[in-house]
Symmetry: C2
């Protein structure tokens, strides 16, 4: 079982790698090689040094031959340009998110049509495929049956890839599955160019003793999932029997709905007033337009059918973050 | 006002050309040049010899510089590989339907971002963006709010282009509009590689004294529009005020719902038993799978808001065909 992860040194890729290196199996079969592909790699990380691991370093589009040098059984395609990047640079988004994905799908197809195994391809899509606008509001509760009308280039690009994957799957070129990710919070590390990045920043930065800016009105509700639940969801969608996916290999990962006000109240509850007061509300219309167009409330029924549940509360999300990142809060000086 | 039509020597392109050469205006403004682009042209046709007309002959992807040599005000993009072709040759469909459309959109974008006019781009999409399957049936009545889950590569490719056009429009690169065409019948001429071609053939061929095969069960219901109504719909979507499109420049053209049984009964009524008996029912699972996955019953409300109504009856469709094509029925020998 040769498993490839693109974007493997990104935040979710790193966690997924960790999980697979602990179990060393996929659907009960031993993983014989785990290929970690990324533009930026950490060659000295424990994962990179694991004897099961091969590293493929560089732009995906240039390294397809390496990824498919041996048959690929499972491909987790996590690499992407993120939302605010794609709004700022249209061509970057089209190239990174559409052209690269299509090239990967074509490489998978070339493998199966040449008589090799039919790769299982797991695509990390996004709630950003949905968009709300005054003329065309989303339903109050969104499900996989809701009509996606993206309001960002990022969401458009993810949706295009979803349709490609469905067609490549229907034609028998590969076994594609789509997991639509909610906003993942609380992320560790530095802010990225995702429009939703502040939803981690307003918790992570104050906990670390740093000021943070919230660029949206606090009553905005958002659909979140912890990193733990997100990686679990990706794996569950990957491992599911095709029949269990009921004719459409597409799942909205389960969402916890919270308002920014709730999030800040949780921060105050966990860390006290001095920490919570490090957050300043300074609306940024560009960010608000993107994040505000996304749905906040999901029918999690299809995910529940796969045994996936949302985080029970935002308090639990913050507690997970603190448990997973013991250095998130500076020690007494 | 420089107007470009791709696929201009195809069946619909030819009719659209005829209409524009009669009115010689678009939204009340004079058409100064009408550019007819196609892979196959009829240089001796009256349209080709009209002093308003320029011909661009060849594969679109190679002739973009010619199309955009002068500013394009309106672009009707009708050229496409058709449904059965795209099922038979996946790469052809992706190249003709996705890559070529994207290249056209990028050329339009280059024009507007260089300070030229923002082209109005009218894209001929298809009811094939919708697909029904046992696991995921379509609603009984389909509207623009219904979830498109294509069951063909052709439908997937059209849907991808719709999303690209929406995003290019949202970003201000162009003014895109999508008209989803119903199955157009009765078409004149020879059968093409569209899976729906028989829906013209079972009327056209017997009227001409020729045998015809119906490859689906006769109780199958289909959503049709006459060539007249289809061209009228394309023009109406093209000429509509952006505000009249209510936030989403996408319209399902109005559909007349009929069963194949109804169609054959109409043929019998118009032309008699000897003609109707020229049709043989011989189901073809490949054709039935494609055409049977398409919706048959549409909520035509959005089209009605633009003043577009479906054909009143299949009898009227056949009568239009006979009026438009006096040579459709052989004279007494």
């Amino acid at each position: 079982m040769r498993v490839v992860i693109t974007g493997a040194f990104g935040f979710l890729g790193h966690r997924l790698t960790g999980t697979l290196l602990r179990t060393r199996t996929f659907r009960g079969a031993p993983i014989t090689r785990l290929v970690l592909a990324d533009r930026i790699v950490q060659p000295d990380s424990p994962a990179a040094k694991d004897p099961l691991v091969d590293i493929v370093h560089g732009d995906l589009i240039d390294r397809l031959d390496d990824l498919f040098a041996e048959p690929v059984d499972v491909l987790f395609h996590l690499a992407a340009a993120v939302s605010a990047e794609c709004e700022a640079d249209f061509d970057l988004g089209m190239s990174s998110n559409v052209d690269t994905t299509r090239a990967l799908l074509d490489a998978a197809r070339a493998q199966s049509t040449a008589g090799g195994p039919k790769p299982r391809v797991v695509f990390a899509s996004s709630l950003a495929v949905y968009g709300s606008s005054p003329e065309l509001p989303l339903p109050e509760v969104v499900s996989e049956s809701s009509l996606p009308v993206p309001r960002t280039s990022y969401g458009t690009q993810k949706l295009i890839c979803e349709h490609l994957i469905a067609d490549y799957t229907r034609r028998g070129f590969l076994d594609g599955r789509v997991a639509r990710l909610m906003t993942v919070a609380v992320r560790p590390g530095r802010p990225n160019a995702a429009a939703s990045g502040f939803l981690s920043g307003i918790i992570r930065e104050p906990l670390a003793g740093l000021p943070a800016t919230c660029p949206v009105r606090p009553d905005l509700r958002v659909a979140l999932a912890s990193p733990r639940r997100t990686v679990k969801g990706l794996l569950r969608v990957a491992e599911a029997e095709r029949g269990g996916l009921r004719g459409r290999a597409l799942v909205n990962l389960p969402a916890l709905t919270v308002s920014v006000t709730d999030m800040l109240a949780t921060l105050r509850q966990v860390a006290g007033d001095a920490v919570a007061d490090l957050v300043t509300i300074t609306p940024d219309p560009a960010i608000e337009a993107i994040v505000g167009s996304w749905p906040a409330l999901f029918d999690n029924g299809r995910a529940a059918g796969l045994g996936l549940e949302p985080d029970p509360s935002f308090l639990a999300v913050v507690q997970d973050y603190l448990a997973d990142h013991p250095d998130a809060v500076p020690g007494p000086s």
